[in-house]
Amino acid sequence: MNEATNPSPPLAALLELTHRCPLQCPYCSNPLELERAKGELSTAEWLRVLDEAAELGILQVHFSGGEPAVRRDLPDLVAHARKIGLYSNLITSGVTLDQPKVARLKEAGLDHVQLSIQDVDHQTAAFIANYPGVQGKKLAFARMVKEAGLPLTINAVINRHNITRVERMIDLAVALGAGRVEMAHAQYYGWAIKNRAALMPTLEQVHEASRHVDSARERLRGQIVIDYVLPDYYARQPKACMGGWGRQFLNITPSGEVLPCHAAQTIPGLVFESVRHKPLGEIWASSPAFERFRGTDWMPDLCRTCDQREVDWGGCRCQALAVVGDAAATDPACALSPKNAALRALADDAASQPPPDFVYRRMTPHDSKAALVTTTS
């Protein structure tokens, strides 16, 4: 069935309040062209977006970024979400929040905090985030979250620099009192694809990490929920990216553009609409960018005739574009894709070389030049 004409409402929205962030992780999911503070939606606009989200049937909102806590109106947005019945999750680096701010978020009715870590090793963590002392700040923040009585998830992006410490990261999450830990292999779009060779582990390392996750699951049953995201480049089956394009999830950028996934802006020819000009419900139902890959009608024959078409929904469009050069192609993570072997070769190749330097996530060169002019004048 084609869902394009009457999509069921989304379950969740990722709200990127800002692209500003004190960390510079080389696998950041933000686009290479980061949005500037002056283009961000105002408090009043975000409050209206929350109303429209609840009305549309969204149940959970994830306040994300960049670092969402650099927005001073974060507690007001959380309070409003709570008031209108939305479940709110804060996805944070933790380095800008102190105890009074955490208490304010708890009071505002925040449901859950997701704290990213880069590693258990302090030095590598600082190297990945390009932020000296980052781990100490994160550990202190995790304690504040628990003291405030907020439930905590720890998440980490697995890459070649931290992959041998996956089990120790899970143990750290337990020690910090997290109820859930998410260990996700890097997904190669945006900044991560720029840093693919610097991040890619070997297949052997991936197998080893997976074994450690399995044994941690057995050892920690009932103590912590472990979510493990497998690496696409070594996969034989694609993931149901976003639960299917335009099926369950939407993403709103700092300036209000509504995307089917956070990397969708890499796909040429897609036109995104903004909450500044249209109600969210209307964008969800009829925006051409959402309709483009919704359902199964858009699929190439290989996928449209496959019995997995409503399981993986064709996998990831951004990955098809990045690796095959065509966003409408079969996801190369699928063993049936003619490009599956090429994808694997890209990974093997990258992982077999010594890691190059990171290209850290920063504002564009144009922006840094502008800053330089200001500071020297």
């Binding site: 149940l59 479940y87 439930p151 109820g179 859930r180 920690l220 049953r221 009932g222």
Partner: protein, 94 residues
């Protein structure tokens, strides 16, 4: 780690970060948890609605056995099974 069997005296409640709420857009009850939305079936909903952190497992079983005029041992089995699995998933604490 092995999970201890659920005692009849335990007082199950929703875990921190978990909310049972009515989803108006879809006309159904849902459990909202970190990165998860679960849709309970009728039996699960009846049990979850009684997980208030005060009521004992025994009392929940009694209430449901009466409400459904069902065999108590059968209900006990269902309730304890479901609660054990929800505790493991950290939807419920006891």
């Amino acid at each position: 780690m092995t999970i201890p069997p659920l005692s009849s005296e335990a007082r199950p409640g929703l875990a921190p970060g978990v909310r049972l709420t009515f989803d108006k857009a879809r006309d159904r009850w849902v459990v909202l948890a970190p990165e998860r939305v679960l849709v309970p079936d009728e039996t699960a909903l009846e049990i979850l609605q009684r997980c208030d952190g005060a009521k004992q497992v025994d009392a929940i079983i009694d209430e449901l056995a009466t409400a459904y005029s069902a065999d108590r041992s059968e209900i006990e089995h269902d309730v304890k099974d479901l609660l054990a699995s929800l505790i493991e998933k950290r939807i419920v604490t006891a």
